[in-house]
């Protein structure tokens, strides 16, 4: 239940009390202050229609008695006299048993509370002064009064006094700290912006809102950071001077590849690129080489049809033995296929020449009248 008390016009404070229990308990038992006063901000914000304006009561001995929902039950007897008293209370019958003496005491307590409240409010400047302890005296007085508090109405007054007193206390405390120049965070921010190099726009109209104008340079925060270095004893961070090493393959791999590519530009290679051989089948490579050598042979004969080519001159590669062997190997295919012929010249040196015939085997057989092969093939049966 949320009780709202709005006192008469010369009381400034508005107080809200938030309780979870019904107010019948409040009125019959001695009020436990901490229980009663978790005066939270949510309570202040959630104003409900339960707020009741105080009115002067009619009849009875009550002067300026605050009325609230909580004691609506208690005031049932007076209800005919009250106007605009909003209903609903959970007060039980126990609190209706007041005798006159007690009523007098209640009034006295309430009156004293109100005096205290007004004294705090009216002598505010005086109480703020750090030279006296008037605020403490007021609180001590309130503590004495509190001992006799039995009902919610007095407790509410006590709460109001506490609110006023703590507010004053807070201001007193902050005043203590701002002895000397006060610190203005807005001015601080403005000065910082200037320090960081804010380029303010030249515009008189915008002087009021110059926080929204201008732009900070790129290194604004770095400027401030450098200034911070003069105030901080930060240990410099440890880093390896040459950086750390990468776990990647080093560049020389590329250089090796380039070195390999360069020799291939030469016409004759010392070592053949194995990769090339592996890509193509052995047979194709051989065939290509044979064709290539045939090309050389033909071009030689085109240039000089009459002069014979020395076999040795043809096949030998003076810079590479293995190449020579390959040349002999490939040339032998030419001879096998009848595209070239080998013969001995006048000095009994082997020479290599072209064969014009494409199908040499039959012609050769006729020319030499070969009837039988001298070398018997291994699989033929004996006649």
């Amino acid at each position: 239940m949320c009780l709202w008390l709005n006192f008469e016009k010369n009381c400034v404070a508005t107080l809200g009390i938030c309780t979870n229990k019904t107010s019948s308990i409040l009125t019959t038992e001695a009020v436990n202050r901490p229980f009663l006063y978790p005066v939270s901000k949510t309570c202040f914000r959630s104003r409900t229609s339960a707020r009741v304006k105080m009115k002067r009561s009619k009849g009875g001995g009550d002067e300026e008695a605050p009325r609230h929902n909580g004691s609506a039950g208690r005031r049932k007897a007076d209800q005919q006299q009250s106007d605009g008293d909003e209903g609903g209370s959970d007060i039980g019958p126990a609190d209706l048993q007041d005798d006159d003496n007690d009523q007098g005491l209640r009034r006295e307590i309430r009156s004293k509370y109100r005096d205290l409240i007004s004294s705090v409010q009216q002598n505010r400047e005086d109480m703020l002064s750090p030279s006296n302890n008037k605020l403490t005296e007021v609180l001590e007085e309130a503590n004495k009064l509190f001992k006799d508090v039995r009902q919610a109405r007095e407790a509410a007054l006590d709460a109001q006094l506490l609110v006023v007193a703590t507010d004053l206390g807070k201001e007193k405390a902050s005043q203590l700290f701002s002895e000397g120049t006060a610190f203005d965070p807005t001015a601080f921010a403005e000065h910082l912006l200037s320090f960081m190099g804010l380029n303010r726009l030249e515009d008189d109209e915008d002087e009021q809102q110059n926080t929204a104008n201008g732009y900070l340079p790129q290194d604004a925060w770095h400027r401030l950071a450098r200034r911070a270095e003069c105030c901080f004893r930060t240990a410099p961070s440890f880093h390896y001077m040459m950086g750390s090493f990468y776990a990647e393959p080093p560049p020389p791999k590329q250089r090796i590849e380039r070195q390999r590519k360069a020799p291939s530009k030469e016409a004759k290679r010392i070592m053949p690129t194995q990769l090339k051989k592996m890509e193509e089948s052995q047979q194709e490579a051989t065939e290509k080489e044979v064709e290539r050598i045939l090309g050389y042979l033909k071009s030689y004969y085109q240039d000089d049809p009459t002069s014979p080519i020395s076999y040795y001159e043809f096949v030998i590669d003076p810079s590479s033995f293995s190449r020579t062997v390959e040349n002999i190997f490939h040339t032998s295919f030419l001879i096998r296929d009848g595209l070239a012929r080998m013969y001995l010249d006048e000095e009994k040196l082997p020479c290599i020449g072209e064969m014009i015939l494409l199908c040499p085997s039959q012609e050769l057989i006729d020319a030499f009248d070969i009837k039988d092969s001298i070398i018997r093939p291994p699989n033929t049966q004996n006649d």
Partner: protein, 244 residues
């Protein structure tokens, strides 16, 4: 923290006996490892916990732990000009701070970290406001907003500002962002962290205030008193925790 709970500081005699069983080279090696561990941990400005140090580095040499730490502290001092500071005697946490005087000007060589600029602004506000600022006063966030840093938006230089202030700076012990008890809804307050107490000079901050506002630092009497009265006001000593 289990390791730390079971780690009892060996006595002086235990340390002596432990040292006798080891060669000087071994002890030096272990000291060097501890030094390197600290230096690397310090890159991110995260404090080092004793439990981690013992578990990951000291290991079998834990019986001579105090001697190792003593030698490491000496190395930091004599070789690097750094001070090994215990910022939390209860939880046994250590940081490294610079043993040299704060420079008059920033080093022209090393690059500056813009986060330190932001931190300076925040620490200044907290100090000038008496050492505690409630988050609900919006003082910190509003000041940042005036400086064009909105905690609600991603900043191009700082990224998630809120996280940086309430998480990163807190883990580094530059700030404390503590819950105020008995508040509903939960409220927090900002204070200087233990690292800030050890590293940051209040006197220098006040000097900076004076420059900004073109005032004598003495005009802020309360803060001036705080910055200059206590001998340990600007840095913590090695053995005791920092004063607030």
């Amino acid at each position: 923290e289990d390791d730390d709970a079971t780690f009892t500081q060996p006595s002086t005699s235990q340390v002596q006996r432990g040292l006798e069983k080891l060669t000087p080279a071994q002890v030096d090696q272990k000291t060097a490892e501890v030094v390197q561990y600290f230096l690397v941990k310090d890159q991110k400005k995260m404090p080092v916990r004793r439990a981690d140090l013992v578990k990951h580095v000291v290991k079998d040499y834990r019986n001579i732990y105090p001697e190792i730490l003593k030698r490491a502290a000496r190395t930091f001092d004599q070789v690097f000009g750094l001070k090994l500071v215990e910022i939390d005697p209860k939880n046994k946490m250590y940081i490294l701070v610079n043993n040299l005087e704060t420079p008059d000007k920033a080093s022209p060589v090393s690059p500056s970290n813009p986060k330190m600029g932001l931190l300076l602004a925040i620490l200044s506000v907290i100090f000038m406001k008496g050492g505690v600022v409630r988050e609900s006063e919006y003082l910190i966030w509003n000041t940042l907003r005036k400086l064009r840093v909105d905690p609600g938006e991603k900043h191009e230089e700082f990224g998630d500002v809120r996280k940086m202030v309430t998480d990163e700076f807190v883990r580094q012990r530059y700030l404390e962002y503590v819950r105020i008890p008995h508040t509903e809804p939960i409220e927090h307050e900002f204070r200087w962290g233990q690292r800030a107490d050890a590293e940051v000079s209040k006197a220098k901050i006040l000097e900076f205030m004076g420059e900004l506002h073109e005032q004598d630092p003495k005009t802020w009497t309360q803060q001036y008193r705080q910055a200059h009265s206590l001998p340990n006001s600007s840095q913590a000593s090695t053995s005791s925790s920092s004063q607030r």
